[in-house]
Amino acid sequence: MLSFELSEEQAMVKETIAGFATDQIEPVMREMDESGDMSPDLVKTGWELEIIASCVPEEFGGFGEGPSALTGVIAYEELARGDLSTALHICSPTVMAYSVLLEGTDEQKNALLPSACGEEFKAAAAALVEPRYSFCPSMLTASAVRDGDEYLLSGRKCLVPLAAQSDNLLVFATTDPGAGFAGVDAFIVPRGTKDVVIGEREKNMGLKALATYEVTLAGARVPLEAKVGGRGGIDFLNLLSRSRLAIAAMAVGMMRRAAEHSRDYARDRIAFGEPIGSRQAIAFMIAEMFMETDATRMLVWEAAWKCDRGEEFAKDAALAKNYAAEKCMTVCDGAVQVMGGHGYVRDNMPELWFRNARAFSTLEGMAMV
């Protein structure tokens, strides 16, 4: 029966993370953006939320029953409300962990999940995006060609978070060009594998506190066992869609924060003798920020709900993700506009959200629920 009420557990998760975001993440967001250094304390505290461990079953080192997309999107919204770079950093290992948990062989689960549930944050990078304007996950140029007992991986990846800090990379490549999503597989590539070149840290418009790298695969060889799911491979569209929900949820978090910030400013800032929020042009902008934040969240929730029920949700996830990417940019642009010149300077947060918001249309496979 229709309900928009969080479960007690979800409400608790939400409240815990909300506090973390407000009290600890947001205060250092600007400093991390300027310096480019992620705060180790934040990562430590963030890891103690046990996002992954709470989803991984006991036999593999956790204490959960598999990831709940709904609980995930609720958690990620709160995290990103604090800061997107931080949210992506903390959640980056989820892609490897959940891909293996959901699609991997028992060997792969035993090999990788326990460490993903450990005391310490352990980087595990996923490489999906490729450095070309026309990138589309259904048309990867990175390829995996079977050669005897090995796969030969070739291609270039970019926006790979924490690639240099990871013991293993999860590389998405096509084993069947022209087969679209169905032709994509994932490969576990250990650090130091020959012909895997991790480039310099990337410089992007935003996400400055998140370390991302370009990764080049120059015919790198991995054993057959490196292929997630073994013979059968993975349901890539399912994994991709779960990652889209994660990213869309983060967009909702940013939209919400930007809307709240604009509301507060419009209430306090006096011009022409009245709060600027008493002008319809500003007030309507803010009304739409809140309306679209809620609208986007509804799309994300419904798709996540379908996901948890095991229903077909790829279309819903795509709708939610693309809608979120567009609206988040509009809302954060509005947050700058509401402040005028003050929104354009780096003393205030909107310009940072403005730079981060544009990332969503490009982000794929950087976090997962």
Partner: protein, 415 residues
């Protein structure tokens, strides 16, 4: 627990109504668009036979018995109404609006009447004969300015005497001429009192001094009658003021009366949103069918910038329509739980009204000459859809309500 699944009962209703809409309503949609002011009696009788109380259900009937011994009792009658309305309006918006039921008039009674008055005035809607209820608030000189009404109600002995002009009364003719219905008239008992002076009065069909002075010719929803009413020394029993006698006294009741207007709209705005959803979905379904017939499938999951223009348009339209539906469901769900939903109701109405206005316009464009021709219903849906961004408060008024809620500003601070 977050849950988007409708109860089996509602799913069944939905399925049944979809069949009715497709097989009974669609074939007649064009006829009643061309023959404006004709009443679809056959359909009215049909729908009344299986849906006493009308498709609008008991709008705003939520909230009352919220708690029973502390346990929150789940109700879904407003959700049921929203689901019903969407399906009916998917069939046809004009005919849907012409269907019998308590309408806005009943909603006003629900929102502001005493239990006795609800008993007295609402019973008729589940009777054998189809009956309509209407609400008269807009005046020639005041559109959204509901606080500034010129229609007056003066106490004279044991009667109220109404004088004034009302326009844009939906189903006014159905309520007052075609059936034994009534109209709820918002009038002021004390012009100086502003909002506090505004009260709702029940005027029964055939009351002397009330006259239908005009029936509007419209852009769309032509099957639904929209009338102007004039009141000249129109006398009604004192008991016909909604919400007990002392409500009549501005000093005592404050702007309770006016709050009633708002409460009425809180309950009905999500249903206007539900109407929008039906029309928008109709247009989108048709477009997708045409593409499917040509063997074109929309690749939702690929990168949006790799899509064709038409694919991306469809993706955008579907996302907007779905978002509007979820906002609508949230608003009625709150109503069913007896929670205040003024903000959420306006969000649903604003989002849905604008979304379907644009969706239908886009669909007509994408269908080219077929979209513009009256040989398909699409062009009609574009005309019908536009009303959703206008009646029961334009999109601008909704946005204003949202802004005031969000900013915590009153009318004084945010005009």
């Amino acid at each position: 627990m977050i849950d988007f699944e409708l109860s089996p009962k509602l799913k069944a209703t939905q399925k049944m109504l979809r069949g009715f809409a497709e097989q009974a309503m669609r074939p007649q949609a064009r006829k009643y668009d061309e023959e404006e002011h004709e009443k679809p009696w056959d359909l009215i009788t049909m729908v009344h036979s299986f849906m006493k109380g009308g498709v609008g259900g008991s709008m705003g009937g939520g909230g009352e018995k919220k708690d029973e011994g502390g346990v929150k009792k789940r109700r879904e009658n407003n959700l049921a109404t929203a689901v019903t309305v969407e399906e009916i309006f998917w069939g046809d918006a004009g005919i849907g609006l012409a269907f019998p039921g308590q309408g806005l008039g009943g909603a006003a009674v629900q929102a502001t009447g005493t239990p006795e008055q609800k008993e007295q005035f609402l019973a008729r809607f589940s009777g054998e004969k189809p009956v309509w209820g209407a609400m008269a608030i807009t005046e020639p000189e005041a559109g959204s300015d509901t606080a500034n009404l010129r229609t007056t109600a003066a106490k004279d002995g044991s009667e109220w005497v109404l004088n004034g002009e009302k326009i844009f009364v939906t189903s006014g003719k159905s309520s007052l001429e075609s059936s034994d219905g009534f109209v709820v008239v918002w009038a002021t008992v004390d012009a100086k009192a502003g909002r506090a002076g505004i009260k709702p009065f029940i005027v029964e069909h055939g009351t002397p001094g009330m006259e239908i002075t005009k029936i509007e010719d419209k852009l769309g929803i032509r099957c639904s009658d929209t009338v102007s009413l004039s009141f000249m020394d129109c006398r009604i029993p004192e008991g016909n003021i909604l919400g007990s006698a002392e409500v009549a006294d501005p000093k005592k009741a404050g702007d309770k009366g006016f709050k009633g207007v708002m409460a009425t709209f809180d309950a009905t705005r999500p249903l206007v949103a539900a109407m929008s959803l039906g029309v928008g979905r109709a247009a989108l379904d048709l477009l997708k069918q045409v593409l499917a017939d040509e063997g074109l499938e929309v690749r939702y999951a690929i990168a949006p910038n790799r899509m064709t223009a038409i694919e991306r348009d469809i993706m955008d339209m579907e996302a907007n329509l779905k978002a509007a539906r979820l906002l609508t469901w949230r608003a009625v769900w709150m109503l069913d739980n007896g929670d205040r939903n003024s903000l959420e109701a306006s969000m649903a109405k604003a989002k849905a009204g604008l979304a379907v206005t644009l969706i239908t316009q886009k669909c007509v464009e994408l269908m080219g000459p077929l979209g513009y021709s009256r040989s398909l219903l699409l062009e009609k849906w574009m005309r019908d859809a536009k009303i959703n961004d206008i009646f029961e408060g334009t999109g601008q008024i909704q946005t204003l309500i949202i802004a005031r809620n969000v900013l915590g500003f009153g009318r004084d601070k945010l005009k």
